[in-house]
Subunit: 486 residues, 4 copies
């Protein structure tokens, strides 16, 4: 397995195709250091002996021990561990761990590339391409990301109906040495910190839309790719440093007539499989979300409980209600993902019913993953409100850090920030600053948007839920009980 040092060294060697604020920048530009630190942690924690069982796995391809973020799930236990690893790391880092997109895409493509070959009577070699890619990915312990979300143009129109057909990434030419693609992917999280970008379609496709049914993997600095990056990180502190300063960075990734060599292509024209691939990535990713969201919400729980203690209102009954509400979201989300793992299988719902699919990759149950992700997303802003509620207005009006350390104003602020006299002024200050970062910063705002939309907005889960749940069986139950005979 790689070390984080080698990972960062690798980033530095890549082509300079990253843009921030109108300039070309290095991959280790200081605005992205937080995101690099976060990804580095996925190497560091996996290397600790106490995390071996949770964070490493034995590759079913090579038989070698690998970082679990490179693993193709082979069992219920693998799914449980992926959920738990995600939760554990997010707890430690206090935020999104960012390496889940890679593992989720890797697993989704394993199934669909295999099915595509089968559908094509083995006239294609997508799965062989995939295997070659996956073996290297595991061996080199790569960081992947997933470029799924097309920019989508007019939301009331399908891909082929757009004024500009490139508004969904598409094949523009098939050549002997590869396929040429054009388009852009939004919200391409951590692409600027990734070795490889896995590209998948974003929705179901119609027969006219074969050119939009394309999946492949390319290094993040490949010819023709430009990443326009929006970094996000907590305001760096001058005095009150925090132990771990993480961050995120989302790329708006442009594919400007990019040539993808054939051996990196996993789907190319099979419109019937565009939707299933989109759905499968979403499913694996929503499963990840049932690990990360509980962790993020646990932090909110801890913040609310600690603030209540500092304010002297820990025993108030409205605090207990709020804590209970938050715990419910945490553990219902987790339980849904857990049950989704346990009810997982190598089958998938298709228009022909539940069918065996893929080369043995273990797929979590879609209903449970979706209900889990949905309740988490629906509560994101409500949790912000609870934070604001318990803290009062100070997160918004908290004087700057420097005022707390200036000799004139420090005595005033330390005197007047005091609540519980047992707690030092610095600790009270630190807690309010953490609230301010969450509630009143660009980073906190982006995190809330991520809690709502990351991995699919609640409305997407609701569509998935109602589309896949056996509602007819429940109508039959009602008919039987009501004496309705058709």
């Amino acid at each position: 397995m790689r070390t984080s040092e080698k990972y960062v060294k690798g980033l530095r060697k890549m082509r300079r195709n990253i843009r921030i604020g109108g300039e070309t920048v290095d991959r280790d530009d200081e605005r992205m250091i937080g995101a690099i630190r976060t990804l580095s942690a996925t190497f560091d924690y996996a290397a600790m002996p106490e995390n071996e069982e949770l964070m490493t796995a034995t590759s079913h391809l090579s038989g070698e021990k690998i970082n679990r973020f490179c693993h193709i799930h082979q069992s219920t236990d693998d799914l449980h561990k992926k959920q738990d690893m995600t939760r554990f790391l997010c707890q430690q880092l206090g935020g999104c761990v960012q390496r889940c997109m890679g593992i989720d895409a890797l697993n989704a493509v394993s199934v669909v590339s295999y099915e595509a070959d089968k559908m094509n009577n083995n006239q294609t070699e997508y799965y062989q391409n995939y295997l070659k890619f996956a073996e290297r990915f595991q061996k080199e312990d790569l960081v992947g990301c997933c470029a799924q979300t097309d920019v989508k143009g007019d939301r009331s129109k399908r891909p082929h109906q757009q004024a500009d057909p490139d508004l969904y990434l598409r094949i523009v030419e098939r050549k002997s040495d590869g396929v040429v693609v054009r388009g852009a992917k939004a919200h391409n999280s951590e692409a600027a910190q990734a070795d490889e970008i896995l590209v998948t379609p974003t929705r179901f496709l119609t027969p006219e839309e074969g050119d939009w049914a394309v999946a492949f993997a390319l290094p993040g600095d490949w010819e023709g790719i430009t990443q326009i990056v929006r970094p996000a990180a907590a305001r760096s502190r001058k005095y009150l440093k925090i132990p771990f300063e993480g961050g995120m960075a989302d790329s708006f990734t442009i594919f400007d007539n990019v040539l993808v060599p054939w051996d990196r292509v996993f789907l190319c024209g099979e419109h019937l499989l565009g939707g299933p691939l989109a759905l499968l990535f979403a499913l694996f990713h929503r499963h990840s979300y049932t690990g990360c969201k509980p962790a993020l919400t646990e932090l909110i729980l801890g913040m609310v409980a600690l603030m209540a203690e500092y304010q002297g209102i820990a025993q108030a009954s409205h605090i207990r209600d709020k804590l209970a509400e938050i715990i419910m979201v945490i553990e219902l989300t987790y339980a849904a993902g857990y049950t989704g793992s346990d009810k997982g299988s190598t089958k998938m719902m298709t228009p022909m019913g539940l069918q065996e699919v893929g080369p043995g990759t273990h797929i979590p149950d879609p209903i449970y993953c979706n209900v889990g992700r949905c309740i988490a997303g629906e509560n994101a802003y409500h949790e912000m409100m609870i934070l604001a509620d318990v803290a009062g207005g100070l997160p918004a009006t908290l004087p700057y850090e420097e005022d707390f350390f200036d000799e004139t104003t420090r005595p005033y602020l330390e005197k007047y920030i005091m609540r519980n006299p047992e707690i030092s002024a610095e600790n009270q200050h630190r807690l309010f600053r953490a609230f301010s970062d969450m509630l009143c910063s660009s980073y906190g705002g982006a995190a809330a948007v991520g809690m709502l939309h990351g991995g699919g907005s609640p409305i997407m889960e609701k569509i998935a839920i109602t589309g896949q749940y056996d509602i007819e069986a429940r109508k039959k139950l009602v008919k039987k009980l009501a004496g309705i005979k058709d």
Copy 2:
């Protein structure tokens, strides 16, 4: 295993201590026939070969095959099956299956009677009493119920502070042949249909409250017991009979200086164990609820979906939203119970931390059972609103059944009730009548109250959740991340 015929025959032989509407009545009084039918079904379904795995178990006491409603859970698998059996039967019967209180009390008492002996250095024989009782219970395939809820008097006062100490059932005398108790238990569901009443405390008790720490089992017709019963059943139909007419019946059970023989006593004065027994019954019962409530909500789902189809609005997006909302409640509740089974063990949270308790009875995880029960309860009336929403006003203003079958008015009603022309008028009528039963009947109203309060109101679950969740661990996480050092 008993047949339902023998069960009913047994009821008929019992002493006539049942009161309804100011009169002494038989146990098979027609107002309670629905409840008897429901309980009979627990025998009939268990006898069907196709249900053997789900509905029977092998007793760890006798090694015999027994009805699972008499089983002491020995494993995670037993807990899964209890949840699934409950869901399955409630689906089939279209309502509460009513035999869960017995199994839940049986399991709770198994643990606490054992712990009481241990605490008393085996100077007591509660667990031997229990074993003797449980063996007979299994062998004779008895129906049990649980008398837990004391009438409680002034809610702001503890048991020993009440103006009348009997407002919580208590020991009034200890005699050589047994213990004399006095008090009343409210909401004693199906007691009039039960062979045995298991009595447990309802809350944590203080050292002054040893006399309120009492648990025992008695036949439902025992000397000194009077049951004042409030039956509830759907309005019986004259023309549009439904296949299964179930019902419920709750006893207000009076214990008027009742002598409990010593060999039927499971706890007697150990105030420290009153709370744990109350909590354990609640826990097993909330676990049951994660089976029954999904089933009840599945019926609501089917009703909404069928009504939307009949009204011609199945494709409306607000219908999809409502279906998704309902499915979320169903499957989050189920997933919570499922995870509660899987994370179950023979341990229990005590003031001294998580400890091994009882004789091997498998106890589900309390956090998951509580969050599952809580989300179900909180949505009860919202589901009623969704039903009312999709149906419009007709459930409230639907003419009487007789008007649909009278020669003058039938043509009018059959003409004007028509929505989807593919569906017969009778079926449309049947569906609206089912809605009317749910929304506008005393039975439906009682069912909604049951969905809110049965097995413990949401506020009780919230107390359990915040009391048992490791909030301190989350505060520590926050401190670590925020750089707060104590």
Copy 3:
């Protein structure tokens, strides 16, 4: 003004066209006595000198003092008083006052009949017909009702697209002496207690739908009209009589080739005015609702507060929260109606903008009436939940009244129902019985459906709100502030 005695005497003289439960019944059948009592109260209270200002008005047609329920609003003050009169009476009677449909229809028709004549260049005499009708209505102090809701068949189809064109009431023949109509109106509240039925369309109509654009008034016992009635009333008590036993009764009113004499016709074929009439009745009625719903919710408030006092939890903070929530619904609903009155005018929103309409009838502001009605309806089932929450399970399991008065069981029930020792057992019993009537009776269930759907379901108000609000003006504000230039 009429006395209630004369009103009831008048009902008894009407043709026996009322059907209940497969039989033809008298208008004063005991199942409808509660509804008659309620309507009688509108006469009795108006006759009391202390209510003169609130409940009577001076007719702008005759100059005579009339019952305000017969008045055509001439000013903001009239609108305020109509709202306040409705609230006052509902408080006194503990439920729906039932005479508002008549006044609301009377006002709506005043405007649209006038506009129809204008649109027809005075080739029609709808407004003259109306004036003649209204003068008699006021002079004879009649009770009116409004038959608006067509049965509507397939909800995804328009009136002229239905398999059976009668699923919306329509003109089937125009004759020299009148117009022949056929169809049925559902939810025709108090039609069996009304002297006159005012009939209006239920939705906007297309040019093909002139035959569905018809409005008229007929006596409730007119040739060809059959009313199939679903009465609803609280269970009558045997021992614990309550001071006022009201009730409701909804007719499913059949118009079987009914000849409407020309001088009773107010609209006949003008499809452009079908929608405005439907909307105007709804608007006046939603304005009424901002009077009645606050009153009904005040009763819920009182019940919750009293129960909390009886249970000994009046000081609990969750009780305060619930009371505050309920008060918010009460007073936001009232404030919306109040503002709707104050911002009312003789103008109406039309496709050509806000226009002066009608003969001077004062019309409340549609946005405020709709937001007020909507928040009330959306909270209906939540209020039921609060009632259930504060009362616990007893409303569902309360023994029958007879058990409380039987010599054997009375001592038990009086002993064990005690909460606050300062309150008599009877009063505690009475309060729980009131809760049981609200939560667990067919009457309470129908009332909840009425709170949701009566006067238009929340979805109807939302359509009205978004259709009439000046959203474009707010988009312009945003464009200005964001520097967006079209």
Copy 4:
């Protein structure tokens, strides 16, 4: 009336007692320019002839025309105009207008200083002091602010129980030339842009707490006052300038043994009037909130509607639902304030019932103002969620402005941001940037906190509502209807 130029010139002359980020700064420091622009607008708009009726008033003290922000309300009409002026200005500026605290404090003090003198049998001259102050305030067209919120220390303890008695601002010495006070006020909005700071107590006080019952006014740069300011403003744009760049600035205001001359003291030791003054300021300010919050929510409405149009989903039914939800909050809040004005009077609820108070100042109805403020606050974060929902993830991942104007990346971003092809890329960009400012900036975060807590958090309104509503009258109604006789 003053011009904005003179107002700003005045600020520049003040003593430099403003601290930001560890430094002493000028009052026109660029970080506070936005706030100054906002306040300047209150002068500029009042000077426009078309706003004369709305934004100016005739002083009842001098008979002169004054800026309405300096007026003491003399009538219902004044209250209506204050609400409407606030709404109008907030619409124009796209945010908080910031001059309401001054007018609200001015009105509150008018009543309480008068009552204090009365209570003291005119041995004090608070009201004379007040009149002198108010006359100058109006004549010089001053900007006032209100320092109300004490830092409050341990929330479970009263002022006199705090470890440090200064945690609530208090009198430390009474001298011949004035009273010396010490303490700090948090969330002291616009104090750094104000001419005068009006100081009031923050809560009800007990007899031991006379020293905390103090009210006065001082210039913002008075000896002993230090303001530690936290400014907030939208990120300034480099290319896409917006027409009006406003801002806010909150002072943490320190009173370090400040001598208040007697003629500036309005309350000094009368503990009984501390609470009423706190409540009255809150009441006037919540009334203001029913003007500003509708305006802010109108902007959210416009943003949602415009985004839906740009995305091509304006017709989706979930958009209509969201718009309706938002409109309901806008207009229910407005209607509550409107009704609060109309039901206003010169009376106030006291422990002795509703009593005539003050010198004629018109006080809005407290119930309506509180329910209006409360519904607005409770929906603040829900509105943020709706914004995030309709926009998708782009507000969080939007590339920096410079990338949109860089020659390499501009073509990419302009191509791929396109949704509706009729709308220019720049306009789409502008709209997303506005969303980003609202959802993902420190300014937007502070605004959301302000929408929740500004003018009092929902929990404060609920306490006010339940404390002042006549719940007993509703209990009596229930008793009457239920036949309960005490």
